[in-house]
């Protein structure tokens, strides 16, 4: 019923804007249409503006990241449960396959119950990009961009850019060797200098533009790039192959499709200032 009303609105809207194509009018995202808002009160903290050289991109490319607010922890099972209670179309039995594959919320007992083995304060995982985005929309927030996420995540407990520190890379890599961290509670890893926890050491996290990563999984080719597959690809490549902790993160993003639901992947939200 709600859908019908909204598509009617859509048509009215459409009629009203046949004249000129104005960008601003059209920002209705395709998923937000039927969302009920959630009251997300998780603590956010400010990440201040700064310039950083992304791992991918030209070596001399510096990117200005404007200040933004970021959730201090990933979205938990209990927070996501509230969301699906209010938004039945995002329940496991209701979700459309185009938005989430069959292992969406795989370990839940049913549509609105977590399994007894799950910690409500553990990060929600087995979640698709569309579902993560819908949650953020419903909370009045958005998914971080790769730049925002990487910028926030290059900090350690004392420095804003700790990427050259051995300890920083060692800590990240040690996570790869710990099995089943996804079931741990959020906020058990130390907060970084911005006051944000769990960027490393808990789960992988979705980013808004994860699909801009051109890694095909064929790493030898990725280094030189394949102009036949990627237009303009010559300008994108790893700036520092030694930074293999980051390399693995980008490889992971490159292996994803937006409806994938992976056991070791969750998400957190940001808000632009």
């Amino acid at each position: 019923m709600k859908t019908t009303i909204l598509s009617v609105t859509g048509i009215c809207f459409a009629v009203s804007c046949t004249r000129v194509p104005a960008q601003q009018e059209m920002t209705t995202p395709m998923l937000q249409v039927t969302l009920s808002p959630v009251n997300d009160t998780v603590k956010m903290t400010e990440v201040k503006s700064g310039v950083y050289t992304p791992f991918f991109g030209k070596k001399d490319t510096s990117i200005l990241v404007r200040g933004f607010m970021m959730d201090v922890v990933p979205v938990t099972n209990s927070r996501f449960l509230e969301f699906v209670k209010r938004n039945p179309q995002w329940r496991r039995s209701q979700v459309k396959r185009i938005y989430a594959e069959s292992n969406y919320l795989l370990n839940w007992t049913n549509d609105t119950t977590l399994s007894p083995a799950m910690d409500p304060e553990a990060p929600v995982t087995n979640i698709s990009w569309f579902a993560a985005k819908a949650y953020c929309d419903a909370a009045g927030k958005s998914l971080p961009t790769v730049d925002q996420w990487e910028y926030a995540a290059m900090a350690d407990e004392t420095t804003e850019d700790a990427r050259n520190k051995t300890s920083y890379n060692k800590d990240i890599l040690s996570w790869y060797e710990k099995p089943n961290t996804a079931g741990n509670r959020v906020h058990q890893t130390p907060e970084n200098v911005w006051g944000i926890a769990d960027l490393h050491g808990l789960v992988w996290e979705w980013t808004a533009d994860f699909n801009e990563v051109m890694l095909s999984g064929e790493s030898r080719k990725d280094v030189s790039n394949d102009a036949a597959k990627f237009c303009g690809s010559g300008s994108i490549g790893a700036t520092d192959l030694m930074n293999y902790a980051a390399f693995m993160r980008f490889a992971f993003r490159g292996s994803l499709k937006a409806n994938y639901c992976v056991q070791n992947q969750g998400f957190r939200a940001v808000k632009n200032l």
Partner: protein, 494 residues
Amino acid sequence: MSFILYPISSSNTYTMTRLKFLFCVFLSAWLLNACSSSTPEQTKIPPTEIKVVGESIAELTSPPLVPKPIGNREATKLIVNMEIVEKEGTMADGVKYLYWTFNGTVPGSFIRTRVGDEVEFHLKNHPNNKLPHNIDLHAVTGTGGGAASSFVAPGHEVTFSFKVLNPGLFVYHCATAPVAMHIANGMYGLILVEPEGGLPPVDKEYYIMQGDFYTKGKNGDPGLQPFDMQKAVDERPDYVVFNGRVGSLTGDNSLKAKVGETVRLFVGNGGPNMVSSFHVIGEIFDHVNVEGGGLVNHNVQTTLIPAGGASIVDFKCEVPGTFVIVDHSITRTFNKGSLGMLTVTGDENKQIYSGKQTEGIYQPEGSTIQNMPGEKVPDAPKATSHEERVALGKSVFAKTCQACHQENGQGIPNAFPPLAKSDFLNADVNRAIGVVLHGKTGEVMVNGAKFNGVMPAQVLSDEEIANVLTFVYSSWGNKKQEIKPAMVASQRAH
């Protein structure tokens, strides 16, 4: 036939010889004619044109085993199911490592195909895994050897197909960035493509793959050891091993054969960096498929196996004994782990091997660094009881002594004396301490057998020597004596 025209006289040897000669000429002419004739036996079908018949699920085996030979079967559609598992395993006694594996083993499962097979490859990435992976099979003709089509996220499965065109033994490996790390963590294995009709039959076939490993800690440092990218870049491995770990092919795990049997080894080198000088001590390879391809060399002592390459070797086991399989870049064998064994049982053949010489034996060394005067001896944990001493000594034994004296102290006949129920040991404790401290050269009698080798001095602390000897004296029917560090110190002072 023409030779019938010649008179045959049994008393005329000249005629006989001549006759034989002519027969040979005739035969050769006939053979040549057959070969060059315009109606040849059968035109070879190009591999791309070979038709497949039916379909079956490929038998996959964990090392050191290989699937059944293909024999005379026709080309078929072969379904291969391979699961990627990231899991903790044992690198050496007391040393853990997080391996990334194809089907749970290092190297991954052995795949056996024949020319013309159409392989439908199902690559599954276990949901518990942290990382995406893929597979590049050197037997594939096509972009990336399959890597571009097989990139798969955790909890997902990809399928791709290829037709095997070239016979040979090929490496497969993961090619996901950072590729050196994926290989260094154990993501490699072998795929065999047999020619039509199969390889010549042999009695035993085994699967061995060498790999180099790079750990944060030094060789032997206990606990879960993380991967060290810097050492990998510098090509300074801490472990060079067969089948993913120290001791995978020794003791109870050693390969077995009987006298008179022919043994074929499918040997690969996963790398990522080291090139293998593959050698079996006391055997000569009758045939070697050089680099795993069609060129067959004969009577080879040591064959070079490049990283990302393979070799097929075979030989006949003529005499019983333990044949040590090594990378003849020899410090790797005695200091980094690339040591395996083939145990051949059966009757002696004194004509072939007298059993008294020590030819073919290397100066046996343990895997601790030997005789570097002035070097600081690392601190070892202090034992406070006999039991603790035994426990600590066991790990010293595994690292330092086991390669030669064997897991159960049984030694190797004619080469390394036994430590089990050893009259030599039990007779004189201080002499034993001295041997460990200073080494031993020349003839010794142990349990009635004569040995004439060299044991080098070991760079171990007093504590470690006390521990390892306490372990030895407390095991395998020896006299259960505790050796104190002070006793070692007093011998050292001598």
